[in-house]
């Protein structure tokens, strides 16, 4: 009974959807990169912070703790290596693939970002009526991307130093250990506060923004969130070719799996 109602409720939407266009925010390659990075990040955070657990929690592992510790170390290294490889691939992607080069150019910080940031703050405190018009990537995303690059570089370097410890002076290792630990705290907190809000907790995104699976957003969302980029795309047939999703069927299927009321 309820199922029928859901299906019939979805039908008019599907019809109206035929007119809406979908805009590509992440292509397939980028989604795979994100997925691998995400899985590695979670494994690294869990296995890494295990060595900071208080004694009484460790003792609750009982006899299994030795085995747990053994696999902890191995998993942390495997996930670390994969993360480094994905990061290196991303650099290759930025430099040698057309889509990557577009990403790089759009991601570079510009003076407009500073204006946008100020404008957004003023909008938050109700001085301005409307938020500034964002381009493909706005200051929040650029900051996060920059932090990700800096964080991944530092973590990879210090991690490799700690892995090959017997080759380095202890002072270098002490620095590496502090940076690795502190950077991990910073990265996890930043992800929790900055990224989790953006893709999970933000009104109309809750419980999760499907973008990481589908890679696209609909026209309405596009006009609202990235109006400047929308205008640029609509004015340029070449960009239209790149950023407007041609076949929508697959997207719809995924959307239905993640169906939620706010769509």
């Amino acid at each position: 009974m309820t199922e029928e109602r859901v299906i019939s409720a979805n039908k008019p939407n599907e019809k109206s959807d035929e007119k809406t266009r979908y805009f590509i925010r992440l292509n397939f390659n980028e989604r795979v990169q994100h997925m691998i990075f995400l899985i590695c990040f979670i494994i690294l955070a869990l296995t890494g912070f295990m060595i900071k657990l208080p004694e009484d929690i460790v003792s609750k592992f009982g006899e299994a703790k030795t085995v747990v510790f053994y696999y902890r170390g191995i998993l942390h290294r495997i996930a670390g290596v994969i993360m480094i490889l994905v990061s290196l691939y991303h650099v290759f992607y930025l430099l040698f693939k057309p889509a990557g080069r577009r990403w790089l150019v759009d991601m570079l910080p510009k003076l407009k970002d500073l204006h946008d940031m100020l404008g957004t703050m003023l909008y938050y405190v109700r001085v301005r009526e409307k938020p500034p018009e964002y381009d493909r990537f706005f200051y929040k995303q650029k900051l996060e991307y920059g932090a990700l690059i800096a964080g991944a570089t530092l973590m990879s370097l210090t991690g490799l130093l700690l892995w090959t410890e017997q080759m380095w002076p202890k002072f270098v290792l002490d620095i590496a250990a502090i940076v690795h630990g502190m950077e991990a705290i910073l990265a996890c907190l930043a992800i929790m506060v900055w990224h989790m809000y953006e893709v999970h907790l933000k009104p109309r995104k809750f419980p999760i923004d499907n973008l990481w699976i589908t890679g696209v957003i609909d026209e309405e969302e596009m006009m609202e969130e990235f109006p400047l980029h929308y205008k640029k795309i609509m004015a340029d047939p070449e960009l239209k070719e790149i950023y407007i999703e041609q076949e929508r069927k697959e997207v719809d299927r995924v959307r239905r799996i993640f169906a939620r009321g706010s769509q």
Partner: protein, 373 residues
């Protein structure tokens, strides 16, 4: 009434004779009662009960009570002397045929960092230092298994081969236990750390001797491995007992045989051919670094002109030792590490609070925006 007491006494005597061969002094007549004990003047409960079966399988199970407890001829025992582990105990030591004594070990121990010999090794507060009994109770021989893995069969076969010639099974088992007792660690790494830290974590006690508390070890990856029960994890003994010596020979870091002496560091960390080999291929730069985290000594050295710190006598003592231990380079390292940590704390606090404020504002603005549409 008298008859009843006599019967009880008689029972006691026969019981003791039947169960334990070494109790020729008839101590168990009284000491077999579990409630036997008293409160001393400080209010501590002293228990004088002896479980004869457990005693018989302990490392001292073959000894008579009076071998160690001298002066028990009066009842109640008012003239008893403290047990001295370096006294002779009327058992023949097979390699020399002389009377056995722990004197050898006690002499070595007195020369070690924990010794309190008034002439050669004077200490400011000798009462703080551990005596034999602080670390050694009267341990039980473990049943002849769980050595070389958990192969009970292997032990049984070995024992059977022994008993081909040594027909007294009790003797053979005891000898086997005595031997295998030395082939395994009596304490796990975690137990070793707990034993050492029972004194070395006491800040006041350590400061009286110019030492810093050993919490600094628990900031190392060494301790985390011990905590998780890793087989190869280094405890206190691994790095502080000289190679080829026992725990009784721990020496100060200035001593040439000390494994933490700078000249021995590479060998200690890499320990080629040892049971516990950790950092194979360790370089000199790696091995000569500070292993424990920087603690109180580093703090005192870094706070050069802090007059508040200097007034404390104990601190002055720590400072004297720290000045010998710390090179200017290490003080510099400590300051740099402290700066990096401070930098990160400020960075995390400012970035995360900025993010929080930003996102809360964003949340309110988004809600507002959606309401108006």
């Amino acid at each position: 009434m008298l008859a009843a007491i006599l019967v009880m006494l008689h029972c006691g005597v026969t019981y003791a004779q039947a169960d334990i061969l070494t109790d020729t002094e008839n101590c168990l007549l009284c000491h077999r009662y579990p409630n036997m004990g008293r409160y001393d003047k400080a209010g501590n409960k002293k228990i004088y009960y002896i479980n004869d079966k457990l005693f018989a399988v302990s490392v001292h199970g073959k000894l008579r009570c009076k071998s160690c407890h001298v002066g028990l001829d009066e009842i109640p025992h008012t003239n008893v002397k403290k047990v001295d582990c370096s006294s002779n105990c009327h058992i023949k030591e097979p390699s020399t045929g002389k009377e056995f004594s722990h004197e050898n070990m006690v002499n070595k121990y007195q020369k070690s960092v924990h010794g309190v010999d008034a002439k050669t090794n004077p200490k400011r507060f000798p009462e703080d230092l551990p005596t034999c009994k602080y670390c050694h109770d009267n341990p039980m021989y473990r049943p002849p298994r769980d050595i070389w893995g958990t192969s009970e069969a292997l032990s049984n076969e070995t024992l059977a081969r022994c008993m081909g010639c040594h027909t007294a099974s009790q003797w053979a088992e005891r000898f086997y236990s005595h031997f295998t007792h030395r082939m395994r660690k009596r304490r796990s790494q975690e137990e070793v750390v707990r034993l050492c830290t029972s004194c070395h974590e006491d800040k006041e006690k350590m400061a009286r001797h110019g030492l810093e508390s050993i919490e600094t070890y628990k900031d190392t990856f060494h301790w985390i491995q011990v905590e998780y029960g890793v087989e190869n994890a280094p405890d206190c003994i691994s790095c502080h007992v000289p190679l080829g010596y026992s725990a009784h020979d721990i020496r100060p870091r200035t001593d040439r045989i000390s494994p933490i002496n700078m000249t021995n560091r590479v060998k200690t960390c890499s320990n080629p051919g040892g049971m516990q080999s950790c950092h194979a291929g360790a370089t000199k730069e790696f091995a000569t670094g500070r292993v424990h985290a920087y603690g109180m000594k580093a703090q005192i050295m870094a706070a050069n002109n802090n007059k508040d710190l200097m007034q404390d006598q104990d601190i002055t003592l720590i400072r004297e030792r720290a000045e010998k231990d710390f090179s200017p380079a290490e003080v510099f390292h400590y300051k740099i590490l402290k700066l990096i940590r401070l930098f990160y704390k400020l960075l995390i606090a400012s970035i995360i609070s900025f993010m929080l404020v930003h996102q809360v504002l964003d949340y309110m603005a988004t809600r507002r925006h959606h309401k108006s549409h």
